[in-house]
């Protein structure tokens, strides 16, 4: 079982990112579930969403306490939330940032998802869309295949710039 | 002259009280609506008047439903029938309690949604089926089992509430004027969308008058101006003949009030307030009829 926790702010598309990741994993022939933190979500507040990926059907509904991977879509949440809480020893971290960050000794990757989204002009109501670009980064990290990442994005979004953004993130991911 | 059909949809041997104004009204309602009609009836006297399962004294399909739900039930029924291409009239026949009190939310919802149905409130101004407790439609000063000293609040203005939903057609009526009632039902059913008729239904046991005087009591209500017959068609008000006449030369309200035991011991202040309210309503309707408001 591979467990992922995604940190973002309400309205940034963290839940959609979780769904895209789950869909891509399913397209890879695996089983997956994706779910938000079960609460009342408010725009702008720090939120988390979760993904489980496994080779057999997933029967667990309880929340993820010990993630294998933490994704930080909005680094500003790190000021108020301990994003590394419960992370497994050796668990990896993916941060939306231009420069690599020290993530408490955990293997960390950085990619400028915001910059990519702005370059691709992927914005909704003035906010950059990060959840499609992040799939490219996850493919580069080997969590999902790039082919499935693209097919998941195409299933959910008709605008081809979303796939371009994922491709850019795939190229630009810095370990 | 309007010919009221001979065909009867209310058969003999109902369980209605002698002189029941509500059942007399329903007789004309059904004659106007005709055979292709379904009645939706919430808890009220009419639930009992039909008779006991497996028999029924109504030669028309009747769907009996829980107290608060008549308008919503009719809403679903009308929607399903129209979707199936059927023009069957869906008529709610509800008492005042089921309309102005417990049923008003469903009524408001169904009207706001533009449901294609006719909602009729037959108003005997109290919960008759349970033995005459006050309802929101009980008039000021009237004694009921829960207002033994007379009601201290005036009657809820149901028509103003319904009018606020801007239905294409709404009217008041009274079984003492059967042709007027008959024509209003026909007219209401000629419209698509929610229509409404509010029938004052004299009730011998509840109002405490003798059973042969139902029609007389209805006429007194209109002639004293305590009940006004009018229509609001596409927003335009028409005061009907009997009430027009009453506005020119009304009988004193006391003639109506004294004829009923329920107003026994009513205070002079209450009578005066009822007269003032009736005068204000007449004035408002006259202004609306002339288009000045």
């Amino acid at each position: 079982m591979f467990e992922v926790r995604i940190h973002s702010r309400g309205g940034q598309g963290g839940v959609t990112a979780a769904r895209l990741l789950a869909l891509a994993a399913v397209r890879d022939g695996k089983y997956a579930t994706a779910f938000p933190f079960y609460g009342a979500e408010r725009r702008g507040a720090p939120v988390v969403s979760f993904v489980r990926i496994d080779g057999s059907p997933i029967r667990i509904s309880s929340q993820i306490r010990k993630p294998d991977l933490v994704i930080v879509l909005d680094p500003s949440v790190m000021d108020v939330v301990d994003v590394l809480q419960g992370i497994k020893p050796g668990g990896r971290v993916l941060v939306n940032a231009r420069e690599p960050r020290d993530m408490g000794g955990h293997p960390a990757c950085s990619v400028d998802l915001t910059g990519i989204a702005l370059r691709e002009k992927l914005e909704v109501a003035g906010s950059p869309i990060l959840n499609t670009a992040v799939l490219g980064a996850l493919a580069k990290m080997g969590i999902i295949s790039m082919e499935s990442a693209k097919s998941a994005i195409r299933e959910m979004f008709s605008d081809p710039r979303n796939v371009s953004a994922a491709e850019a993130a795939y190229r630009e991911l810095a370990a | 002259m309007t010919e009221i059909p001979r065909e009867e949809y209310i058969l003999k041997c109902t369980s209605a009280c002698a002189g029941c104004g509500g059942t007399l009204s329903l007789r004309y309602v059904l004659k106007a609506a005709g055979r292709d009609t379904i009645l939706v009836v919430p808890a009220c006297c009419t639930s009992v008047i039909q008779g006991t399962y497996p028999n029924t004294a109504f030669n028309i399909p009747v769907y009996n439903v829980a107290f608060a739900s008549a308008a919503a039930c009719a809403s679903g029924m009308s929607t399903a029938l129209r979707a199936a291409g059927k023009k069957t009239h869906v008529i709610v026949y509800a008492g005042d309690g089921g309309t102005v009190d417990i049923g008003i939310q469903a009524l408001s919802g169904a009207f706001e949604r533009g449901t294609d149905f006719l909602y009729i409130c037959y108003d005997n101004e109290a919960y008759g089926n349970t033995g005459m407790q006050r309802s929101g439609a009980t008039p000021l000063g009237a004694r009921t089992t829960t207002t033994p000293a007379g009601k201290t609040q005036p009657k809820k203005d149901l028509d103003a509430i319904v009018a606020a939903h801007k239905p294409p057609y709404m009217a008041t009526a009274c079984p003492a004027y059967p042709k007027d009632l008959f024509q209003k039902v026909e007219k209401a059913l000629s419209y698509r969308g929610p229509t409404f008729i509010h029938i004052l239904s004299p009730c011998p046991p509840g109002w405490r008058f003798s059973t042969e005087k139902t029609v007389e009591m209805g006429k007194l209500a209109v002639r004293t101006g305590m009940w006004v017959l009018y229509e609001r068609e596409q927003g335009k008000v028409t005061i009907n003949g009997p009430s027009k006449a009453a506005m020119v030369k009304p009988l004193p309200a006391e003639e109506y009030l004294r004829a009923q035991g329920r107003f026994g011991g009513i205070s002079a202040e209450a009578v005066s307030r009822m007269k003032d309210d009736a005068a204000a309503l007449a004035q408002r309707l006259q202004k609306e009829e002339k288009g000045i408001c």
């Binding site: 979780a18 769904r19 789950a22 869909l23 399913v26 997956a32 579930t33 994706a34 779910f35 938000p36 079960y38 059907p57 997933i58 029967r59 667990i60 509904s61 309880s62 929340q63 299933e155 | 055979r35 292709d36 009609t37 379904i38 939706v40 639930s47 009992v48 039909q50 008779g51 006991t52 399962y53 497996p54 029924t56 109504f58 030669n59 028309i60 399909p61 009747v62 769907y63 009996n64 439903v65 829980a66 608060a68 739900s69 919503a72 039930c73 809403s75 679903g76 029924m77 929607t79 399903a80 029938l81 129209r82 979707a83 069957t88 939310q105 469903a106 408001s108 919802g109 706001e112 949604r113």
Partner: protein, 370 residues
């Protein structure tokens, strides 16, 4: 082809397949997404239903009743307070023998305001004459809604069916599922007692004790017959779509010395606990009760039983535990857990089994460690 979506979306997708003539509904968390999606299907023309945006849940069920009695297929969805507000009409629908299908997203009852999973909302409707099924996955939610129409509308049943899915744990959890094309799986609805001006008659008129009593017995007779209809329908579903369901889902029960009984997602999570316990040498099994009405016969004889109730009947106990004790004479270790969305993991469930105390009741998180 598999898609990935929430339990709510799966319910809506199944409703689209069943194509009810009328949907009347009122929004409530965590159900809202179901009716939003249905409204979207209707608006886009993908679903040719009439959507009635009623002003309350009481009216939602009343409108379904009014539509259903004309012979129209009807659907609604609700949750928690909404189901409570609907209660009077829930009973009416069953008494009127109308095959209405409702999705109820299980959620705790106020106060205090709590939007998370609990079964007490639906459990409180258990005596209404509705069939009740509790699902454990998104796929199962989809499949159960399709089957619910076929079962409710079967002339041997003609009772409404409530499909229950756990708030958030299923309603908002995205899982892969297959949208089965209903095709002719649900035969056209023929309501023998449809209201018709050509055959005037009274519905729900004043009914004396003798006739009323017979009508009540008739509900129970159909409820008993429904078990066979459920079995037939589930077998037909398996032949048509390849997915098998039972009254309850048994997991590793054959040689089990202790069996965990639960409903909904807790019942699925219990299977993981069973695997964990088996690894420790404890011969555990689990039974996930799907159909709560009609209540299934479970073979629990000679085994320890641990029942997890995500519900409670004050002054009595866990309703599932009490039902099993009454039906099968089990003397379960009754665990009350998950109320108001309380987190219960498979490790917790394994703990209940390891430390079971038959005949006792244990409130998880209140009575200290097991």
């Amino acid at each position: 082809m598999l898609t990935v979506a929430t339990g709510n979306k799966a319910v809506a997708a199944a409703v689209k397949e069943a194509a009810p003539a009328v949907v009347a509904a009122y929004p409530i968390t965590p159900q809202t997404e179901i009716v939003e999606q249905i409204a979207e299907y209707v608006s886009s023309g993908e679903l040719r239903s009439q959507y009635i945006p009623v002003e309350s849940e009481h009216s939602a069920m009343a409108a379904c009743i009014g539509a259903s009695v004309t012979g129209a297929r009807t659907f609604t969805a609700t949750s928690s307070q909404g189901l409570q507000y609907m209660h009077e009409m829930v009973n009416w629908a069953a008494g009127a023998r109308l095959p209405i299908v409702m999705a109820n997203v299980n959620r705790a009852l106020g106060p205090g305001w709590n939007i998370w999973a609990e079964h007490t909302d639906a459990i409180q409707e258990r005596d209404s004459g509705w069939l009740q099924v509790y699902v454990g996955s998104v796929q199962e939610a989809f499949d159960a809604v399709l089957m619910a129409f076929a079962i409710a509308e079967d002339e041997r049943v003609l009772l409404p069916v409530m499909v229950n899915l756990d708030g958030f744990l299923l309603s908002h959890t995205m899982q892969p599922f297959e949208v089965a094309r209903a095709g002719d799986f649900i035969p056209p609805l023929h309501l023998p007692h449809a209201i018709d001006p050509a055959a005037p008659g009274g519905y729900g008129t004043l009914t004396g004790p003798e006739d009323y009593f017979k009508l009540r017995w008739d509900i129970e007779r159909s409820m008993r017959d429904s078990a066979g209809v459920i079995r037939e329908t589930q077998e037909r579903f398996a032949r048509t779509f390849g997915r098998k369901y039972g009254m309850a889902e048994e997991y590793r029960c054959e040689d089990a010395e202790v069996i965990v009984v639960a409903m909904g997602t807790l019942g699925r999570e219990a299977e993981v606990a069973v695997d964990l316990l088996r690894g420790e040498g404890i011969r555990a099994g689990s039974m996930r009760v799907r159909w709560f009405r009609p209540f299934p016969r479970l073979d629990l004889s000679g085994r320890d039983v641990v029942v997890i109730d995500r519900d409670y009947s004050f002054g009595f106990g866990g309703v599932l535990a009490g039902s099993l004790a009454a039906a099968g004479g089990a003397r379960p270790f009754s665990v009350i857990a998950g109320l108001g969305g309380q987190e219960v993991t498979y490790e917790d469930i394994a703990g209940f089994v390891r430390e079971r105390r038959p005949g006792e009741e244990f409130w998880f998180g209140v009575n200290g460690d097991v």
